[in-house]
Each structure stands twice: as C-alpha cells, then as structure tokens.
Amino acid sequence: MKLLTDQSPFHKIATLLIIAGLLALPLVVSNPSVMQIFILIIFYAYLTSCWNFVGGFAGVLPLGHSAFVGIGAYTSTTLYLTYGVSPWFGMLVGGVLAAIMGILIGLPTLKLRGAYFALATIAFGEATRVLVENVEKIGPFEIRGPKGLLINLAGNSLADFQFSSKAPYYYIILFMLLLVLLLTFVMMNSKVGYYLAAGGEEPEAAEALGIKVSKYKLIAMAISCFLTALGGTFYAQLVLYFYPKSILGLDLSYEIAFIALIGGRGTILGPILGALLLRPVGELTRIYLSDSLPGLHLIIFGLVLIIVMRYQPKGLVEPVSRWFNRLARRVDQGDNNRKQEEDCHGVADS
C-alpha cells in the first residue's frame, strides 16, 4: 500500500488525518496508564517494523530479536550508569554493537533454510539471555545478572532521556516509528528491496541472475538489528527498570514475530495492524484477568494467531487494505468522473 504517493486523494487525506490524530492524541488523553498502552502499541509496532527488514523482506523467520532489544537497553544503560553517558549517545553505540552482532550471527546463519535459521536465532537469543543472567560484571560495567538494572531518576531531563510526563515518550516513539516506516518504504522501492524480495522468494533464481542474495540479506539484518537496539534503549528509559527475562526472553522474540505475521509480514502497515490488534488484547487481559484467570491472554493470543493464519495466511493487511481501497474508490468516484470529463474535454479541444 503506497500511502502518500498514491494518486487517490482519499488515501492522502486519510493518511494525513491519521497522522494528525496521532500527533494530537496526548492533548486528548491525559490518563498516564492509557497513554502507556498507546506508547506500548507504537513501541511494538516499531519493533515489529524493524523485524520486518529481515522477517518480511529477506524471507526468513528470525525468532531471537529480543537479543538485540537487550543489547540496546544494556549498552545505553550501563554506559549511563557507569560513565554518565547520555542515553541518546548510548543508543547509537548500542545500535552499532547490535548491527555488528547481527552481521556476525547472520554471516553463517542467513544461508540456512527457514527452519534452521529460526532455530539458530532462538539458540542465539537464549544463549544471550543465559549469558546476561549469569554475569554480574563485564569489565567496568555492572549488569547484575538476573537482578537487572535500575536507572536512577533524573527527573525531567532531555539529556538524560527522562521525562516526568508520558507525552514526550509518546512523541519520541511515534517519531521513531514514522522514521522506520519511511525507511521501509524507501527500501521497498529501492534496488536492495527488489533484490531482497527476489532472494526471499526464489534464492536460486536470484543467484543465477547475479544477485548476491546473502549480501543483501546481511544488509537487511544489520539495519534491522541497529534499529531494534534503538528500541531497546527507548524501552529502558521508558520503564527505568529491566531484567534479563523481561527484555531478553523468548516471549518478546515470539511476540514480535506474532505481530508481524498476524498483521502481514513484508508490508508497511502489517506491523501496525498486528500491534493494534494484539497489544490491547495483551495489555487489557493482563491487567484485568491475570489474577483470576492466569494465562488467558496468551490463550487468546494463540487462538487469534491460529485463526488468522488459517483464514488469512498473508495477514490482516490484505482484507483491511481491500476494504480501505473499496472505500477510497467509492469516495473518489465523483472526483474521478469529473477528472475524466475534464480529460475528455482536453482531448476534444486539441
């Protein structure tokens, strides 16, 4: 779905309205816990969009992306706690580290077939979690094993990436999401994107045409890991306390993949739709039902996943965009008729 470049005025207006609505949201919503849910929806949409570079375009199934979230969170936080380095800078360091890690992991594994790649990434993610859980200190950096890290409160400070209200966090993550979506869009319509799509569908045929599939997959992996790590720093600064199980666990890796698949992987809108559907379900059932009915939200998660995959194996983006396009056609109908008439006149005049 080409959002802003699409010729239909309805698409343009709808997109601008949605963006305007998103920008105005903190002015309308004042309740911090509601705000937190919106932030988390966008945060998950962001992580899933980052995942999409590998999971969507490169045609493999990475199931260890929480490791890169963790690298981002731990790098910026330990730098901040040990040397007082601003998380804004630590964020970039974490991103570069994650990209290097992603290339190192991708180099041997991206050649593997789907299931093997998925298993290799699970092993990498779990190995990272076990490592962090068992180490108290890496060089001068305290990581405190399973106890996790607590970021000391600095109040309302842009340099320390801490804000007393939720709105700044909301705008930061919204900006990050829009940026990654723009990058996705640019990538999809670039040479790299076409090569990746070709390599994901028919690796042998693409290789035969002279495309170095694994090289482009590595580029996608590096971008994906870099951006995922930035998300890790954001999360750390949002919650100010995290421990290995909360950001390095299999659960997070799976949730990212789930959101992408339910929404529609390899599309721009897929991660947003997936996060919009799954996150509120997850949050609300966890808040209201987790005491009386433990595990219910994960049952719903699993059921939604099975049902969507059964009836919409390409994800929800297909029926939603079909519906949206039909609506757009109907709205634009009058407009188009007028335009066609004008065109006819133009031809007749000349």
Binding site: T109, A118, A123, V130, G302, L303, R310, P313
Partner: protein, 294 residues
C-alpha cells in the same frame, strides 16, 4: 574419578530420554519438513495425562503407556487433520512452510496456558512405586526410572527403525518423505501418511511422558526446556534421522551432566546453545543428515 563415570553414565541415561522426546520431532520434521513447535506442549499434555492416571488409579506408572500413547496418537492425528493440513495445503507451493511453524507456536501457547488455567502453576510430583528407587553398582547410584526410560527408548528406537524400514506403512512414509508427488502418483494417500506420521510423532511424546512422570516434575511449561532441547537434538543428529535423534540426545545429556561437574548448572545451558550454534555453522546437516536437507 568414579564421580565422573557416574555422571557420564547418568548423562547417557538422561540423554536417551531427551532422545526419546526428539524422535517424534525428527519423524515429523523428516517426513513433512515441518518444525512442530508445539512438540514440548504435547509432551506436557502427555505428562499431565500420565500424572492423573497414575495418581488417581495408583497403578505402576508404566501401565499408563497403553492409555497415554494411543491418546496422544489421536491428539496428534486430529491436530494435523484439522489445524495443520489446511494451512499446509494453502502453502503447498512454498518451499519453506513458515506459517506452519507459527501455527504450531500458537498451539503451544494455547496448550501451555490452558494447562496453567486448569491446573495452576505449581509443580507436581507423582508418587509411584518406582519413584526414588536407586540401583547401586561399585559405589555409583542410578535412578531406576531413568534406567527403565533408557531401555524403553532403545526398544522404541528399534521398533521405529523396523517400522520405517520393513513395514508397508513405513515404506509409504519414506516414499512420501522422499518425493511427495511421486508417492501420490504411486497411489499413496499423502494426507493420510501425514496424519499418521504426526500421530506417531505425538505418540512418541506419550512414551516420553510416561517415562518422565516417575522422576520429573509436572507443570504447565514443562515442555519448553524439552522442546528447545529436542530442536537442538534434531539438528545435531540430522533431521529425519532416528538413530541421529537418539545419539544426539545422548550427546546432549552427557554435555549437560558432565558440564555440571565443572561449572554451574546455568552455564551448561549456555554451553548447549553455543555447541548447537557451532554445529549449525560447521555442519548444518548434522551427524546423520543428508546434505540437501538444510
């Protein structure tokens, strides 16, 4: 020294039980080219079934085998027929059925959390007639349930080997795994083979469940560690290879128990993952796998 021999032998015993859980996975993987991520959850279902059967009737735990194994066969058969088959058919032309991986993950989430909802998170121990019984040889101690489990693994491995090699159905299974289309042309009903293979894979979990219940805790997420270990074993042994699965299981069990002699138990977990990644990098086809499979 004797301590190392003892833990080596214990590693072999425990490892053969890991192999038992991996056998079913490798069977499904080998024939259908599908990773069943719900494998550990099916093991968990089997363990709860065996646990309730044993605690409610008070019989010898191995008498649960004729009850739990057919139950899980039917369970797996139905799961393939009603959930996996339609998705598999929709993705027929795709070489790597990734959607199936995700759907089995969905089944895993539903089963594990359903168990949590119904039975609670507490750890349960089945008090059976063999629980805690030890065998003592040369100052070394071995749990009887583990010895019996290793024996059952060996028998099941031999039976499956015979089944695939010589029985009519086994030949049909092998033909389907080699070439779906050609097998269909020869009059083999592909979907029936898939249903049966999936059922058999789950039935292997049933055997493992009955073997584990006398000495292992039963809780809703008990499948997860076994699940990940089974994946590792299957890749280690070569996908689709039954001797590979059992040998891979034994290697894993030995690394785990011998490793625990030298380092903290949590580090052995790390060691297993790193070992697995190394195997993937160096020889992705595993010990007994074919080259074209990865």
């Amino acid at each position: 020294m004797i301590g190392y021999v003892e833990s080596l032998l214990n590693g072999i015993l425990m490892g053969s039980i890991y192999g038992l859980t991996a056998v079913g996975l490798t069977l499904i993987f080998g024939v259908m080219k599908v990773v069943n991520f719900a494998h550990g959850s099916i093991l968990m279902v089997g363990m709860f079934a065996a646990y309730f059967f044993v605690t409610l009737t008070g019989v010898n735990p191995y008498l649960a085998l004729p009850v739990v194994v057919p139950l899980l066969f039917v369970f797996g058969f139905a799961m393939q027929k009603f959930i996996i088959k339609p998705i598999f058919e929709a993705e027929k032309d795709v070489r790597e059925p990734i959607t199936v991986i995700i759907v089995t993950t969905g089944i895993w989430y539903v089963l594990d959390n359903l168990a949590l909802l119904l039975f609670g998170a507490q750890f349960r121990v089945a008090k059976t007639s063999v629980t805690g019984k030890m065998l003592e040889i040369f100052d070394m101690y071995f749990l009887w349930p583990k010895i019996i489990g290793a024996g059952i693994t060996l028998l099941l491995g031999l039976y499956l080997y015979w089944f695939l090699k010589y029985s009519r159905m086994g030949k049909a299974v092998r033909a389907t795994s080699l070439d779906r289309e050609a097998a269909t042309l020869m009059g083999i009903k592909q979907n029936r083979i898939y249903n049966i293979v999936f059922g058999l894979g789950c039935a292997c979990c049933g055997v493992a469940a009955c073997v584990l219940v006398p000495f292992y805790y039963v809780y809703p997420t008990v499948g997860v560690p076994f699940d990940i270990k089974a994946f590792i074993i299957v890749v280690l042994g070569g996908l689709g290879s039954i001797p590979g699965a059992i040998l891979g299981g034994i290697i894993l069990g030995v690394i785990e128990t011998l490793g625990a002699q030298f380092m903290a138990a949590t580090w052995t977990e790390m060691l297993i993952y790193v070992f697995f990644l190394l195997v993937l990098f160096v020889k992705p086809s595993g010990l007994f796998g074919l080259k074209q499979d990865y």
